[in-house]
């Protein structure tokens, strides 16, 4: 008979291990066979066994090692049974021997980074890389990931299964790429993390738990990357960028839940501890002497924070950063933000002229911030009729009700 306190304690310990070590255990179990799905199945069975055993027998001294021992037996059983035709005796032997050695040893080598590189491999469909990292490194289920990425759980589940099959069948390695390949490959890992963060960021009010958690999880994963690759400036830059954005989360909505643009936010509501950490990360990154997209975006955040806190207009510096970013990325989205900074320096008509240069880009026709920026600039030049039309399109393209409300307010203020 298990006591309720024992139950609660066992669940607490299992949750803590899951949070801390899930990805580490999956990475270790799957590193040789590259069979991520089998590792996840074995691990979830091991967690179930733990929840049945621990309340009665007490939590083991080394819960991570305990789980690995149980999961490793299940992995070997699975390989013996289910996929005998596909797997050679040699492979089974290599697998068993490695897992035995690791279980005997107290420390499990941390291969989470290698696992992330496998998930963000160029041979994996780009759109599924971020969900895949969230699932295999953090153990999030397909349902939660699907709700964050606005797709159905079934569709997301299928794409994740297909990606895991690809890793196994194509023999995608669990390894950190060679020095000359590392920057490019790291970019895809960082892009996947940032995509996860951006999905979590949309719900700024934090009412949707799955979304808000996603932003935190993305920061957690990026922190992991910076710990495992401490001298990669772009990883530091991305972490700084996300911390800066996260620091302002509570200031982005007022008490009525309405959207508050950056210029109107109360800096006292920002999380200064996160900002301090972000600034330190940016300094560390810049000491490494290799600039990149995420460092520039982090530096832009830093410049905005400085201006809002001190009231000292630093628009030339901001425009300079946007120029550098535009040279690197050629992104029309960067061009829009650059135009808004130009407006602060040289006025709205000058900004509209620069916006004209990117207006031909078809990608912008359905991009809300483009229309919102255009509307704001047109309103400033007094072209109210055109501004109203641009706001109309922006409102129609926005999916966040509070941002929509903000745009509607701006539009009706024109009359």
């Amino acid at each position: 008979m298990s006591l309720p306190e024992g139950d609660a304690q066992a669940r607490k310990t299992a949750d803590a291990v899951a949070r801390r070590s899930y990805g580490k255990l999956v990475a270790f179990l799957a590193a040789r066979t590259r069979d991520v799905a089998a590792a996840e199945d074995a691990l979830s069975e091991a967690f179930a066994t733990a929840l049945a055993d621990w309340p009665a027998k007490g939590c083991p001294a080394n819960p991570e090692g305990w789980l690995l021992t149980v999961a490793r037996r299940k992995v070997i059983d699975m390989h013996r049974g289910r996929r005998r035709h596909e797997i050679a005796a040699e492979q089974l032997r290599v697998l068993a021997e490695g897992l035995d050695a690791a279980a005997a040893d107290a420390g499990i080598p941390d291969q989470r980074l290698a696992l992330m590189f496998a998930c963000a491999h160029p041979a994996i469909e780009a759109g599924v890389r971020a969900p895949l990292i969230l699932q295999v490194v953090l153990g999030l289920d397909a349902k939660r990931i699907a709700s964050a990425f606005l797709t159905s759980p079934e569709a997301m589940g299928k794409r994740l299964v297909r990606a895991k099959d690809k890793i196994r069948q194509a023999g995608i390695p669990f390894s950190i790429p060679e020095r000359e390949e590392l920057p490019g490959r790291l970019d895809t890992v960082l892009d996947a993390i940032y995509a996860a963060f951006a999905e979590g960021w949309i719900d700024a009010a934090g009412t949707d738990m799955a979304r808000r958690d996603l932003a935190e999880e993305a920061i957690f994963v990026c922190r992991l990357v910076t710990e495992l690759l401490p001298t990669e400036p772009e990883a530091l830059g991305l972490l700084a960028l996300m911390l800066h954005a996260e620091a302002r989360r509570h200031a982005r909505r007022n008490l009525r839940g309405e959207y508050v643009p950056l210029a109107e936010q109360d800096p006292a509501l920002w999380d200064s501890q996160m900002i301090v950490e972000a600034e330190a990360l940016l300094r560390r990154a810049s000491d490494l002497g290799s600039i990149g997209r995420y460092q520039l975006e982090g530096a832009l955040q830093s410049a905005h924070v400085y201006r809002c806190r001190t009231g000292h207009a630093n628009w030339p510096e901001v425009v300079q950063l946007y120029d550098a970013l535009l040279t690197l990325s050629g992104s029309p989205v960067v061009a829009i933000n650059r135009a808004l900074a130009i407006a602060e320096m040289h006025g709205a008509s000058a900004a509209l002229d620069t916006l004209q240069e990117v207006a031909a880009d078809m990608r912008l026709a359905e991009y809300q911030p483009y229309w919102a920026a255009r509307a704001e600039l047109l309103a400033k030049t007094g072209a109210h009729r055109e501004a109203r039309q641009a706001y109309e399109i922006a409102i129609g393209l926005e999916r966040d009700p509070s941002v929509r409300g903000f745009l509607q307010q701006r539009q009706s203020a024109l009359d």
């Binding site: 050679a88 005796a89 040699e90 290599v94 690791a102 194509a170 390894s175």
Partner: protein, 128 residues
């Protein structure tokens, strides 16, 4: 108990299929053709020296292809390749390497990747 050795890898076999525009070869000058043949020879040599080459061959043009299908117990034989396309498979390499990244780096060195495309396909069974 064997020591834990994380560098120990299970090898896999990959088929590198070389696709190229068939008419391209005949447009080359004699000297260019000789240069092309030499490049393939060097590549094959490199694969062999690295101990990864399991088999390779150049194929006759797709006009020499015959397609066979058995329908209702009767073989149907058609002249020509299965897929009519400007780009056709013109040769293959079967290699034995540690993982997809190794296969990709060999595929990228293949002269065929510069004048056509190389499709990398893992084989079903793992070599023992």
């Amino acid at each position: 108990m064997a020591a834990y050795n994380p560098s120990r890898r299970i090898h896999m076999q990959y088929l590198l299929m070389l696709y190229a525009e068939e008419a391209g070869w005949n447009r080359l000058t004699k000297a260019e053709q000789e240069q092309g043949v030499a490049a393939y020879k060097a590549y094959t040599e490199a694969l062999s020296k690295a101990g990864v080459l399991k088999g390779s061959n150049r194929l006759q043009p797709s006009s020499a292809a015959t397609t066979v299908r058995v329908a209702n117990g009767k073989p149907q034989v058609l002249d020509g390749p299965y897929v009519e396309s400007k780009e056709q498979i013109g040769g293959y390499y079967l290699i034995d390497v540690a993982d997809l990244d190794a296969a990709i780096s060999w595929a990228a060195r293949c002269p065929g990747a510069s004048h056509g495309v190389v499709e990398v396909r893992p084989s079903w069974s793992m070599p023992t």
